[in-house]
């Protein structure tokens, strides 16, 4: 599904290259649950953003379902992205001015899904996450765990093939964190959605079926 070849990214400081990522090779099968680990500044998030098509590398190739991502036109890439990728953040990043319902609905608006269909899909999702009673609340009225559930629901609404999560439990307590990880596991096994998560926690990483360890922009360890 995902092939990264010789991916490097750097910043120039005083003429010297300062590598954020160096020569990353990575193949990810469809249906995988990959955890990316590493200390702060090791390039985890940058790698995730490149996979998520929000960022580009300075060198190397990225194939997504066989398409060379960096060679695609902006419009084409957005299409590919919209259809296949869902994003989850540590800080949830819900839109404060929109209700739970509207937040979950927003990605569908950008994909031109028709009104009636949209309604059904959002209702489905609310049902699945047991949030029907909370659909008219605003993010500020929810707990952190609930907000992250909305974030996940929003990421899943458009039925992506790939779910990217940047420290999804970083702002949650351990119980809430566990629930989220259980949910990820379920999504991965039952819905066959590929998941890539960035995490600091060994325990969370263990939910995945594969772990890569980054240090100073290089893959240190690749545990299958």
């Amino acid at each position: 599904m995902i092939q990264l070849e010789k991916i490097s990214k750097w910043y120039n400081t005083n003429g010297a290259r300062n590598f954020v990522l160096k020569d990353i090779h990575l193949d990810i099968e469809e249906g995988a649950f990959l955890s990316i680990m590493g200390p702060s500044g090791s390039g985890k998030s940058t790698l995730l953003n490149i996979i998520g098509m929000l960022d580009t590398s300075d060198e190397g190739n990225y194939r997504f379902f066989g398409e060379s991502v960096f060679d695609l036109k902006e419009k084409k890439r957005t299409e590919l992205y919209k259809k296949n990728i869902g994003y989850i953040f540590q800080a949830y990043h819900l839109i404060d001015e929109l209700t739970v319902y509207e937040n979950i609905e927003t990605p569908l608006l950008y994909q031109d899904v028709k009104g009636s269909e949209r309604k059904a899909m959002v209702a489905d999702m609310l049902d699945r996450f047991n949030m029907v009673g909370k659909k008219d609340l605003f993010p500020s009225q929810l707990s952190g765990g609930q907000q992250q559930l909305v974030g996940i629901a929003r990421a899943l609404i458009a039925k992506p093939k790939l779910l990217l999560a940047d420290e999804p439990t970083g702002n949650l307590n351990s119980k809430q964190g566990e629930e989220i990880m259980e949910l990820f596991k379920k999504i991965n096994t039952e819905d066959k959605i590929t998941i890539i998560q960035v995490t600091h926690s060994e325990k969370n990483a263990a939910y995945g079926d594969r772990i890569i360890d980054l240090l100073d922009g290089r893959i240190q360890q690749n545990i299958q």
Partner: protein, 805 residues
């Protein structure tokens, strides 16, 4: 999708209420100002545009080169015989109509034989064809039947109601003009009230043929004199060449005028120019120059622009808070275009709110504007023009203020935006906003400096020494009939008996008057008339002490009822080549080819006989009782009330058939500058709006900067900064911006106002103080605006600020 945008927009505005309010208030006031300007301009440009033949109607106007002091002379009127002369030999002229306005005419109505109602009004003497040129509707009668026979008259509907209760009653009734048995006019027709936007304020009309039996009958064949109130209108064939017609008109003037008037000429002035050309004037005595229209349009655009600048400033400042949403939406699949549309529609929403508020403000403000400008303009919200204007304003304001923030906001990189690393530096930066603030303050400085100069010119008008005494002088009218004239001396003596009255003089007009009588004359037995016209001031010998005119050579003339001696002003002596006024004494002045001949016996110091717009011209003074029309009464100001009661009683006793009306000379003179006065009031309002909008913008910007620098302020305070240091930190930049804005604005304002002042012969100096007041004033206002926010930031608890970081 749009629904989602509007929900976000609406909730966002609601959450940032103060920001939204600031934005809407600024925009609404800017838009309201431009709506009002639009209404004024539309009103002023609509004058006489409702006549079907407007394209082909021309007024025959007079002009001449090298009159008096080498200045050109213009008049909207022509000699009376011009009209009939155009009737034959001019195939391109389809119709000719003459009309004469006589203002301040007394008319009386007999009620039940004994009782009388008296009015002062303007009477128009009109040829019937006037109504086939212009579209004024008849309620009863028609022009041909009513305005052909002498002493036949028509009234406007509301005048008829005023005189006779209702207009049907008026038909067949009579009005007595000037209390003369020869001038009893029969009302045979009624016209509908003329619209407010016409320069023909027709109320009382009499047939033109009436003039043949009036005091004007000798003038009807006079080719030399030009009466500015005697206008001649023609309808030209639509294929006629106007320039060819103008050449024929010049030839016509040459053919009929005596050789010494070779420089006098006629021209065809299009109807569409009459309302705008102050040189030729019109019957409403109110012109609205194209320059003024341009100035108002510019002010309107400026104010709108300033409001848009506020919007851009505040919106980009706000952008920091929106960066997260931009990031999220991009991650959720929005492209840049969709986001730009979202932010633009948000701007559209705010603009729409502002537009509604602006309509409300204009609606409330219009009555005040009408009072100020003495107009009766209306805000017709549903008129097509107005709707198109609103739509244009809506679109241009939305785009002008929305496009830049939309481009900036939609361009955020989602990764950076989600980490909320967006700082003001990334938002096109502070430098752009600084430039916008400079632009804003430049505009308001220009408005303020302009306003101060107009106001100081007004004060100059009010306080300038005119060379004669205008304080505590009352003018009383002297009726225009011989019976009344016979009583002049008697009434004068009666007036002088009151202890509150110091001097009384009977004269044709006061030293400075809106009604002037000018003529050239032959000097010192020359066979050619002077190249300039002298202002003829017929007055008795007490004129000089009543108005405190100073003699500089010779003596005053002796009391007399007819001209035996002349007194002239200094300028007359100079124009005739006598730098030493004594040398002119004894020389003869010959008026109207010997009708009046008398020597000059004295020279008075120059005084302003016209408004201060024009330079002092030649004035000659002589006694001629039958021309007297006004008493000048110098009173003891403390006795004003007593004197006024006394004069009214006395006047009504001796002139019972006439309408009593008095006026203070200084007020009459102030009225010369009514248009300037109105303009200065208008400028004051616009300048205030300009400053207000700028300050709103400044306030918003400072709030934003204070919020941005919370951390810096916190750290500085922890390091020991005092509140005053913080206030200084936050306000020094704006002071600099205002100074830069001033440096930009001052030369522009100087140039523009210097040009404007050229309209006046007597003008206030463009003093350093005006500019100083402008900069000092805006500085103080800006400091007050900034101060509140700065002090608030300075007094905030640093620990709290830093913890939030």
């Amino acid at each position: 999708m749009i629904g989602n945008y509007y929900k976000t927009a609406y909730r966002n505005l609601w959450r940032n209420k103060s920001y939204a309010l600031l934005n809407i208030a600024g925009l609404a006031i800017g838009i309201a100002a431009s709506i009002l300007i639009f209404i004024v301009i539309r009103f002023e440009t609509s004058f006489d545009n409702f006549h079907d033949k407007k394209e082909n109607i021309y007024r025959i106007a007079s002009y001449s080169l090298n009159n008096g002091n080498g200045k050109e002379f213009y008049s909207g009127g022509v000699a009376f015989p011009v009209g009939p002369a155009l009737q034959s030999g001019f195939p391109q002229v389809k119709k000719v109509a003459r009309i004469l306005q006589r203002e301040g005419e007394p008319v009386a109505i007999n009620i039940s034989g004994v009782e009388r109602k008296k009015f002062i009004t303007s009477i128009f003497y009109v040829e019937p064809d006037f109504f086939s040129l212009f579209n004024f509707k008849w309620l009863s009668g028609n022009a041909q039947s009513v305005l052909t026979a002498p002493n036949s008259a028509a009234l406007s509907k509301s005048t008829a109601e005023k005189y006779f209760g209702n207009w049907q009653n008026a038909l067949g009734k009579t009005i007595i003009h000037r209390n003369s048995q020869n001038e009893i006019y029969t009302i045979n027709g009624i016209i509908e009230d003329v619209p407010v936007n016409t320069d023909f304020p027709l109320e009382v009309m009499a047939s033109y043929s009436t003039l043949q039996h009036s005091d004007m009958k000798d003038n009807l064949n006079d080719w030399v004199s030009t009466w500015s109130e005697a206008c001649t209108f023609v309808e030209l064939d639509k294929n006629a060449s106007v320039s060819a017609f103008n050449k024929e008109l010049i030839a016509l003037a040459k053919k009929h005028k005596p050789a010494e008037y070779a420089k006098d000429a006629y021209m065809a002035q299009p109807l569409s120019a009459i309302h705008y050309d102050e040189r030729f004037g019109n019957y409403r005595h109110h012109t609205f120059s194209k320059g003024l229209i341009t100035a108002l349009e510019l002010i309107g655009i400026f104010l709108l622009l300033m409001a848009c600048v506020n919007f851009i400033n505040l919106a980009t400042a706000q952008a920091v808070h929106r960066s997260k949403e931009v990031g999220v939406r991009k991650v959720l699949g929005s492209n840049r275009w969709q986001l730009a549309i979202q932010f633009l529609s948000e701007t559209a929403l705010l603009t729409a709110f502002s537009l509604i508020a602006a309509i409300g403000i204009s609606y409330l403000a219009l009555p005040f504007l009408n009072t100020l400008l003495e107009t009766s303009m209306q805000l017709n919200i549903l008129s097509a023009n107005f709707l198109i204007f609103l739509l244009l304003v809506f679109i241009s304001v939305t785009f002008l203020s929305g496009i830049y923030p939309a481009i900036i906001l939609s361009g955020f990189n989602p990764i950076v935006a989600l980490k909320t690393k967006i700082t003001s530096k990334m938002i096109g930066g502070i430098s752009l906003r600084r430039a916008l603030v400079v632009l804003q303050f430049s505009i308001s400085h220009i408005l303020v400096i302009g306003m101060l100069i107009v106001v100081s010119q007004m004060n100059y008008f009010k306080n300038a020494s005119l060379g004669f005494d205008k304080e505590a002088i009352i003018n009383l009218p002297i009726p225009d009939d011989s019976a009344s004239h016979a009583k002049i001396e008697f009434v004068k003596q009666k007036l002088l008996q009151h202890k509150g009255i110091k001097h009384v003089s009977a004269s044709f007009a006061s030293p400075s008057s809106s009604g002037n009588w000018s003529s050239d004359f032959k000097f010192d037995h020359s066979d050619k008339p002077t190249i300039f016209s002298a202002n003829l001031k017929w007055a008795d010998a007490d004129y000089f002490k009543t108005y405190d005119l100073r003699l500089i050579a010779g003596r005053l003339f002796h009391p007399s009822d007819t001209v035996r001696e002349f007194v002239v002003n200094e300028t007359t002596a100079k124009l005739l080549g006598y730098s030493n006024p004594v040398a002119i004494l004894g020389k003869e002045v010959n008026l109207w080819d010997g009708v009046i001949k008398a020597p000059i016996v004295g020279v008075v110091k120059d005084f302003n006989s016209n408004s201060l717009r024009s330079p002092i011209g030649s004035v000659i003074i002589a006694p001629q009782k039958n021309y007297y029309g006004v008493f000048g009464v110098k009173i003891n100001a403390a006795e004003e009330k007593n004197v006024l009661a006394f004069t009214e009683k006395l006047w009504n006793e001796h002139f019972p058939d006439h309408v009593y009306a008095f006026s203070f000379l200084d007020q009459k003179i102030a009225a010369f500058y009514k248009q300037e006065e109105q303009l200065s009031q208008l400028y004051k309002i616009f300048a205030a709006i300009g400053i207000f909008i700028s300050c709103l913008g400044l306030y918003g910007l400072v709030s934003f900067m204070a919020a941005q620098r919370t951390r810096e302020v916190g750290i500085r305070k922890v390091l020991g900064a005092m509140p005053r240091h913080i206030v200084y930190l936050l306000s020094k930049e704006f002071s600099l911006l205002i100074i830069i804005a001033f440096l930009v604005a001052a030369p522009i304002a100087y140039y523009a106002m210097h040009q404007w002042l050229q309209n006046y012969s007597y003008r206030t100096p463009l003093s350093f103080w005006i500019f100083f007041i402008a900069i000092a004033g805006s500085m103080v206002i800006a400091w007050c605006t900034v101060g509140y926010r700065a002090i608030k930031a300075a007094l905030a608890n640093p620990v709290k600020n830093l913890r939030n970081e």
